[in-house]
Assembly symmetry: C2
Homo-oligomer: 216 residues x 2
DNA sequence: AAATAAAATTAGTCTTGACTAATTATATTT
DNA sequence: AAATATAATTAGTCAAGACTAATTTTATTT
């Protein structure tokens, strides 16, 4: 249906569309690690295929069709992540890259069968909601640990960064989806966070860290 | 590691190496549906990478390394076929094409984990032996139904052709791996075979049919 | 052995999707 | 508003891997 590159662009544009603000060629280039000139070429191609619309004022936007197809790629990615973790016993820092390849295999009923086999999971191992076959999905978590009030306690619902560097760090800190965290103190100097993990000893983490943990 | 094309060439050459006789560029071209000129290019490339050796007299041969890598692609293909059939509930005429895509995903321990998850199967759903991680595998079945003696009874062990046209025909005839077949009569005119399936009514099938069923 | 057919190879082209370098637009400072 | 910085775009190039058409090699007939 689509080439590997087209799918990767669609996915990148979809991901960027989750943040606020307009989507520029440069932003897409950074997100994919490509040259902006290459992005301009692909913008032309995807526009011709009616998957996106590009307006200098509004930036890049997915069309209905583009949105639909991008969501299905995300669906496949997240389903495979569940499979890799639950069935093949991978750790959550190893699954992203493999799912990145598996997501491009699109053979009719494959995603739906996999979905059924996995018991129709709502969330993937990083806490991201898994789109249903019709494109619907639960609202993604959006409140960061860094935005919590001092003294409050919350549950880790998802991680924003899925790099293995971050996930391995979390593993070392004994933090996973479901972990209880209390925000003990915010250091005003650099917005570092002093937290208590599952009621245990206090640990200090950076602001960047706090912004990559989504809680509820 | 290798490009998609390189892997497909390796696999095609491996498959051809199972038959007797030398492997010519034309044979590879036919097997892949490519132009012989393209094959010549790739032969050069794979030779430079020391995956094959090409000698006009001997034809194309896999080097040790090439053989090893080709077998691992076959391993992944056959493991995924088991997965698709047993876990996702596909029928055996649907799995080949999907496995053809999945086989190219090669992420370290993926095949081994899948192997374990599936319970270390010996044969894939078409009766082909699944190579182990070290490249070893059971000897493929090689006796065709067409080569049996009239009157003898055998068990379907594997199918040679994995096209959905053939497999759907088998489905209609109620023939699968394990089915008992008695060779009732060989029609001398065109080598058609009269067979009895699981002790039931007689059916007539072509010579080509009989050559694509492997028995034991 | 010569003629013909088939196979292999070379040369040149095309498409995809990346790149660099140069140029033009748009924002941001001063 | 002019100067400058940043972003977007164009033009041209490159590699992979396919193709066609033309040529050379090798096999097969007669």
């Amino acid at each position: 249906m689509y080439t590997l590159s087209e799918e990767n662009y669609l996915k990148a544009i979809y991901r960027l569309s989750q943040d606020e603000g307009k989507i520029t060629p440069t932003a897409i280039a950074e997100s994919l690690g490509n040259n902006p000139a290459s992005v301009v070429d692909m913008i032309r191609k995807l526009s011709e295929k009616q998957l996106i619309e590009y307006d200098k004022k509004k930036g890049v936007e997915l069309t209905q069709q583009g949105q639909k197809d991008a969501v299905l790629i995300v669906r496949r990615h997240r389903l495979w992540e569940v499979f890799l973790l639950e069935k093949l016993g991978y750790h959550w820092d190893e699954i992203h890259d493999i799912a990145e390849e598996l997501e491009h295999i699109n053979n009719d009923t494959l995603a739906d069968r996999l979905d059924k086999f996995l018991g129709f999971p709502e969330y993937d191992p990083h806490g991201d909601p898994i789109p249903k076959a019709n494109g619907k999905m639960a609202k993604p978590y959006s409140v960061t640990l860094a935005a919590m009030k001092t003294g409050s306690t919350c549950r880790v619902a998802a991680v924003r960064d899925t790099s293995s560097a971050f996930l391995q760090y979390l593993l070392k800190l004994n933090i996973g989806i479901g972990t209880q965290i209390q925000l003990v103190e915010k250091i005003t100097f650099d917005n570092s966070l002093v937290i208590s993990i599952n009621g245990k000893d206090h640990t200090t983490v950076s602001q960047k860290f706090g912004e990559n943990i989504l809680v509820e």
